[in-house]
Symmetry: C2
Subunit: 210 residues, 2 copies
């Protein structure tokens, strides 16, 4: 029986128990069909294009090419396929690299079975499923530090500097004198204990002042 209205799912996961567990779970859910399971990216690369999944569940810790490195390659050969990261790792760097490479969602492996199926559905509907802790980390990455030593104007000027603009251009765009901008920058440097643009930007970003 052909089931073309089903959501076609592929799984890339090296642990056979987990891989077959997911395959069983998803394959036995109404509306879902597992079109391929692969223990590594190298294996997936051979068959995944003709298996043509709608959604890929991708592990990050894979033998050979890691899931993180596999992600952009998969997006290249299957541009319209949604990729859901499924991992035990919660390191910020991995998360943001994955999302930057085009992951549609990021789930941890303690996610209960029904939530994984729900996440696949959510991805198809244009959502971005994330585990609770991951979502908080992502949200936190936007949060400014409210206890900045910089005044509003100083913050504004440092933001402009961070876009690469010259002092002269900043002065023009803020309708103030070049000397005023210089004065603000001197105060910024003193407050942040730095002596250059680059160090000021770094200090401010590290402390989420900008």
């Amino acid at each position: 029986m052909k089931r073309d209205l089903d959501i076609h799912v592929a799984i890339i996961e090296d642990d056979e128990t987990i891989r077959e567990g997911y395959a069983f779970l998803i394959g036995n859910t109404e509306g879902y069909k597992v079109v391929g399971t692969y223990p590594s990216y190298e294996d997936a690369a051979k068959r995944i294009v003709k298996d043509n999944p709608d959604v890929i569940l991708l592990d990050v810790e894979l033998p050979g090419i890691s899931g993180i490195d596999a992600l952009p390659k998969l997006k290249k050969i299957l541009p319209d396929t949604h990729i859901l990261i499924l991992t035990v790792y919660e390191q910020e760097m991995l998360i943001f690299r994955a999302l930057g490479s085009g992951a549609a969602g990021y789930l941890t492996k303690n996610t209960p079975a029904d939530k994984i199926v729900a996440a696949i559905h959510e991805v198809m509907e244009g959502g971005g499923p994330m585990s609770a802790h991951i979502a908080r980390m992502v949200i936190s990455s936007f949060k400014r530090n409210e206890s900045t030593p910089l005044t509003r104007r100083e913050t504004e000027i440092l933001e402009q500097i961070a876009t690469g603009k010259s002092r002269k251009r900043i002065a023009e765009e803020l309708f103030i004198d070049l000397e005023t901008v210089k004065s603000h920058i001197k105060n910024i440097y003193h407050k942040l204990n730095v002596h250059s643009k680059a160090d000021a930007i770094k200090a401010a970003k590290d402390n989420k002042f900008i």
Copy 2:
């Protein structure tokens, strides 16, 4: 009967029907207690500190001071209170301003009642609840443009420039000659059709090349 183990919730929402609806819903859920409902930030400011909620449901479209502007003020007077945005608006600018000001989550008003209660619980557990579409927008904000005209090295160097570093410093940190950095920058400027640092950074960020 005192119920100190309950999660204390406050609601700031100008529409009385919606406000009382939420209050009724949450107040009648085991484990939750509504400690205050206010039609505006100005009203909330008078009583919310002594009401001392664990979680605030905050509307963005409020009369007087908007929810977005109220958020940093609320964080200031109640630093440990989690704030959940509840709104009909899905504009990127509002979302990122809210998250930048310290919102713990962002829900749209079509969120079913049980999900709202679940979101309050999730926030208390360190999660970051978001409506599906919001989550996708947040994730998309991290996504790089895979069809960049820049090479890997050019992208790397442009990223360094965007941190405010001088060409000389970039050369030292990448262990290449200053002339090489200059050469890359010339190529970057040609590819992006710009003639300055600031314009290159802007063009690259607009197109998500960096």
